[in-house]
Amino acid sequence: MNTIRIIPRLDVKGPNLVKGIHLEGLRVLGKPEKFARYYYENGADELIYMDVVASLYGKNSLVDIVERTSKEIFIPLTVGGGLRTIDDIRNVLRAGADKVSLNTAAINNPDLIKEASRKYGSSTILISIEAIKKPDGTYEAYTDNGRERTGVDALRWAQQTAELGAGEVMVTSINQEGTGKGFDLELTKKISESVPIPVIACGGAGTTDHVADVVEKGKADAVSIASILHYNFIRHSKLEDDFSDEGNIEFLTKEKMGFSKIQDTSLNKIKKTLIQKGINCRYSKEEMIHG
């Protein structure tokens, strides 16, 4: 029985977990390791760490966080953000990542996909595609967290990455990202049906039904989720972390509130919804009863 994966995505800026809307307007949410551990203990199928500002500076500052996390968390960990070269990839793998996510560097130099997948195995190389819908209905791939246009057609790029040896594709709709309005089903479906490799849908989950929709209608093989899990965890945890000077933590100290469109939910509730709709996923029997 093959299963649909639910993958919490942790966007990291410096030492903090952040979350933006449309990949901008970052808010500080807390220490990423704490969130990672909580999700691991509560049924996450994998985790993604994304260094959201690394592309600007051209380096990855995640290595320390990855190292601490991978010693305690025994599910697959994907790391991305600002990885440019084979050396960069090697560094995060050595810190304990299982896979790397490439976007900007892969578009600038598609041969990197070939080289990296040959060296570390296809399944280690995940290509992240951030797309914006154009007025003519096609999708254009963007880089640098949705800041730079590339002129590359997202669908053709997805096919090309699979041919070059990518093991998975993660599709983020920048239009939907962080809005809680649901995934871009059309984009996800188009890409999933045109590549032989698994597709992770990312960006837009606001309710558990959105997750089920992107699997049923969007044909996603895995779903990456941020806001609806983070806000739930924050609401149920005390503010014990020391926050660095960086970032906007105002919203955290004032009121622990998410967006109205974003449903307060947990991994357990998401999986329950999937199972009720006949979608296979990994679950523990005890959690299903007590959760």
Binding site: M1, N2, T3, I4, R5, Y40, D45, S70, K71, E72, F74, I75, P76, L93, R94, A95, G96, A97, D98, R118, K119, Y120, G121, S122, S123, T124, G167, E168, P196, I197, P198, V199, D221, A222, C281, R282
Partner: protein
């Protein structure tokens, strides 16, 4: 931590492919002393050997030959606790049909097949994404009357336990008696773990399969401590 020096020493064979660090972290987590190494001496002097790996069969065999580790592994696989994980499981077989025919370590008679192999698809037309990436359940092979996986590396796991898989190929041992568990991917049923003499091999990644996966590492530890 002083006690760690006395704990069993595991050699994690480094043939240049895949993430060996999660394997080491899993060993350390349960109290095994693990070293990532390609040194013949380290492997021969270890208490147990883990052969991990993701990536291409041909490249891995070529690398093992270059490191002059083929005979060392053939020898240790029959003399001490030995675990093959994912590609490491496949390398133990006689041969693989990846792109072209490649000879494996030849320790376990059998072959390595691709999910997309026309012989295996049985005309169902099921559209499976390859590689299989994700959690899938392992269930007991019907070849023995013993209590579920007792006294094997899977001791303590329940039937249909979820484990994490990443692969395009799977093994088919000549002797089905060695199979501990099967897993189904679409219409394809494959051997997801096996026991051959003192070898335990699995297609899934126990070090990425949460607390249930860690039980397999704990079972390796208790082999030495009980």
């Amino acid at each position: 931590m002083a006690k760690l020096a006395e704990s069993p020493r595991v050699a994690i064979v480094d043939h240049g492919l895949g993430n060996l660090f999660s394997v080491r972290h899993a060993c350390n987590k349960v109290g095994l002393d693990a070293e990532i190494t390609f040194s013949k001496k380290d492997i021969l002097h270890s208490d147990a050997v883990i052969l991990p790996g993701v990536g291409a069969f041909g490249d891995a065999m070529q690398s093992l030959r270059k490191l002059d580790l083929v005979e060392t592994l053939q020898e240790t696989a029959l003399t001490k606790p030995f675990i093959g994980i994912c590609l490491g499981m496949q390398l133990l077989m006689s041969e693989s049909c990846e792109f072209e025919k490649h000879l494996g370590l030849g320790i376990i008679p059998g072959s390595v097949l691709h999910f997309g192999s026309p012989v295996e698809q049985d005309g169902s037309g099921a559209q499976l994404k390859v590689p299989q990436i994700g959690w899938n359940s392992i269930y007991k092979a019907e070849n023995s009357d013993t209590v579920l996986w007792q006294d094997t590396a899977l001791d303590g796991l329940s039937n249909n336990e979820f484990m994490y898989f990443v692969h395009s190929f799977y093994v088919r041992p000549e002797d089905p008696e060695v199979i501990l568990s099967y897993t189904k991917y679409g219409n394809i049923e494959f051997c997801s773990s096996l026991k051959f003499r003192n070898i335990f091999a699995c297609q899934f990644h126990p070090e990425r399969s949460g607390t249930q996966g860690l039980k397999i590492y704990k079972n390796l530890l208790s082999f030495f401590t009980s």
